[in-house]
């Protein structure tokens, strides 16, 4: 039966040595690499829609309450935000270098660059945490503990609370992505140290890079929307 409908593949001697990280269901590492990369791109597309939903809600309320939004943005320290943006862009650079190092078999450089990315990412999250602390201290955490009242125009207060809801949701979701990324970085540092990666097999570091750059780009949108939109 199978002879009729299926031409058995010519006995191509499997030229490539069986790489230890080639999964059984792929024909070769090239296919595996392409599949992982495409997988991450599709995942990023999904992430764009995920953030897109909350960006849309943000945009609608911003049009409805422009004054409150402007007042809310005034409560953000643009300087800290700008420094943090720089830190994050720096981490994208080290991430890109890590991918290059992995691809060119620079084992320890890969580890160091991943570590640098991790440290910069942690600084970002730490600074974010400090900002959160500061907002909470000023009674700007939405919900029960929202004690802030806008001095000049108390009627803006509910709108400012709404702004802070979006501030915390959007930056919180972003920070969550950073933390997941940090966990992955730790794991890849170990794998890089173990010497897993080389010119044939560096897809995990590459797709880690894609993810990290995506998270970075989300922040590039968040920063002006939340800090600079006076």
């Amino acid at each position: 039966m199978s002879d009729i409908t299926v031409d058995s593949r010519e006995e191509t001697p499997h030229a490539h040595h069986h790489h230890p990280f080639l999964q059984h269901h792929f024909e070769d590492l090239g296919q595996q690499h392409e599949a992982s990369t495409l997988g991450m791109w599709v995942f990023v597309a999904q992430e764009i829609l995920f953030f897109g939903g909350i960006f849309a809600a943000y945009a609608i309320y911003r049009t409805m309450y422009p004054e409150a939004w402007s007042a809310g943005a005034h409560h953000q320290n643009w300087f800290i935000g700008a420094v943090n943006t720089a830190v994050l862009i720096g981490s994208s650079l080290t991430m890109a270098l890590a991918v290059w190092a992995a691809q060119t078999s620079r084992r320890m450089l890969t580890v160091w660059m991943l570590l640098a990315t991790l440290i910069l990412g942690s600084i970002f999250v730490g600074v974010k945490g400090y900002e959160y602390y500061d907002h909470i201290h000023h009674g700007l955490l939405p919900g029960q503990s929202f004690t802030y009242v806008h001095a000049e125009n108390p009627a803006l207060t509910p709108g400012i609370q709404l702004f802070m809801v979006f501030y915390f949701s959007m930056t919180g979701l972003h920070a969550l992505h950073m933390i997941v990324g940090a966990g992955l970085l730790l794991w890849f540092m170990y794998r890089a140290w173990r010497g897993d990666f080389g010119p044939e097999y560096y897809a995990p570091v590459e797709i880690m890079g894609l993810y990290w750059h995506f998270v970075d780009i989300v922040w590039i949108f968040l920063f002006p929307l939340l800090y600079l939109s006076h």
Partner: protein, 347 residues
């Protein structure tokens, strides 16, 4: 009038006929097409059933013309349905200018109606026959939906925002009112009746108005909250002149211009700082949580009833003899202000 086992709803409004015509046309057209498809399926299934001499299907290259035909022709028919449906929708959505104004409030789980003359009803609505009725409504809690099946009209009733709907009954009698949007435990008890009366009976029913017209009740609310201390009606007062405000364009301090419709007035009472009229200070306190939905509607009726300060000789809708109750609201709803649908704070 009502059969025990109806297969078709009663037609009791001016739009019911056009909705039903479209509906029946669609039933006939789509029914015929569906029938053709079923006949084809069964005919082919029997005629070309598998037999020893028919183990193999005959290959047929699909003609492009056929494929295009059954792509384009249904497309054209569907667009035709769209145009017809939109035309009927326009009729359903645009209230005529001389409509009788009724106000409704939905809450878990009852309908409250207020008439311009001051009558209030719960779960029952009295309206005259052959006269357009426009309902302005809001919800006190969740989303409801006011539905008159015999009139073929329905509109969601949203919290903190005014929605409007209209109908003109063509038959006297009693018809269902249903809440169509699920609203909690007793959703299926949020029902009532609309009683369509002939004009004379309706007059008699109105005669029992106990508390004065809705506008005059609104005036009392206006005084109760001491609105008149600022809105004195004087152009130099701390608050803007309210007479003739309804339906007019208002210049805001932000430079934008808005139309003073129901939702603008509502927002200006509940959240006055949101939009400040140009030339005024943001000094009005908020009344959020202090004015009930029903009082808000009374205030609205009152504001609509105030005549503009410089009375020009504007042609009013001819007063029909039967209607002393020609509401003041009807006058305010001048052609210039009859907006197609209530947009409110829509983004």
């Amino acid at each position: 009038m009502k059969s025990d086992f109806p297969l078709f709803p009663e037609q009791a409004s001016t739009v019911a006929g056009s909705v039903d015509t479209l509906y029946i046309t669609l039933v006939v057209v789509t029914g015929a097409v569906s029938l053709l498809i079923w006949i084809a399926v069964f005919y082919f299934a029997i005629k070309y059933r598998r037999r020893p001499d028919n183990e193999l299907a005959q290959e047929i290259e699909p003609p492009m013309a056929l494929e295009l035909a059954w792509t384009i022709i249904p497309g054209i028919i569907f667009i035709g349905i769209f145009v017809w449906g939109a035309w009927v929708f326009f009729r359903i959505q645009r209230p005529p200018d001389n409509a009788l104004e009724v106000y409704a409030t939905g809450r878990q789980w009852m309908w409250k109606f207020q008439h311009a003359t001051g009558q209030r009803e719960i779960n029952t609505l009295h309206v005259p026959v052959n006269r357009p009725v426009k309902i302005t409504m809001a919800s006190e809690d969740v989303v409801h939906s006011l539905w008159f099946p015999s009139f073929r009209v329905k509109r969601d009733v949203l919290p903190s925002r005014y929605a409007t709907m209209w109908f003109q009954a063509t038959k006297t009698g009693q018809f269902h009112i249903f809440c169509a949007e699920y609203c909690g435990t007793e959703h299926s008890k949020m029902i009532g009746s609309v009683i369509v009366m002939d004009p004379r009976e309706y007059q008699q029913w109105l005669a029992g108005g106990p508390e004065g017209s809705l506008a005059s009740q609104g005036e009392r609310v206006f005084q109760k909250f001491a609105c008149n201390t600022c809105h004195t009606g004087d152009a130099t007062a701390r608050g803007p002149v309210l007479a003739g405000l309804y339906g007019k364009q208002v210049m805001l301090t932000s430079g934008n211009v808005v139309v003073a419709d129901e939702n603008y007035i509502r927002e200006s009472i509940l959240n006055p700082q949101a939009k400040i009229a140009s030339g005024f200070q943001a000094i009005m306190p908020t009344f959020q949580g202090q004015v009930s939905e029903e009082d808000l509607l009374k205030l609205l009726a009152y504001l609509k009833s105030l005549t503009p300060p410089q009375p020009q000789s504007r042609p009013l809708a001819p007063e029909s003899p039967a209607s002393l109750i020609q509401s003041r609201g009807a006058r305010a709803t001048s052609p210039a202000t009859a907006s197609p649908v209530n947009q409110g704070n829509q983004p």
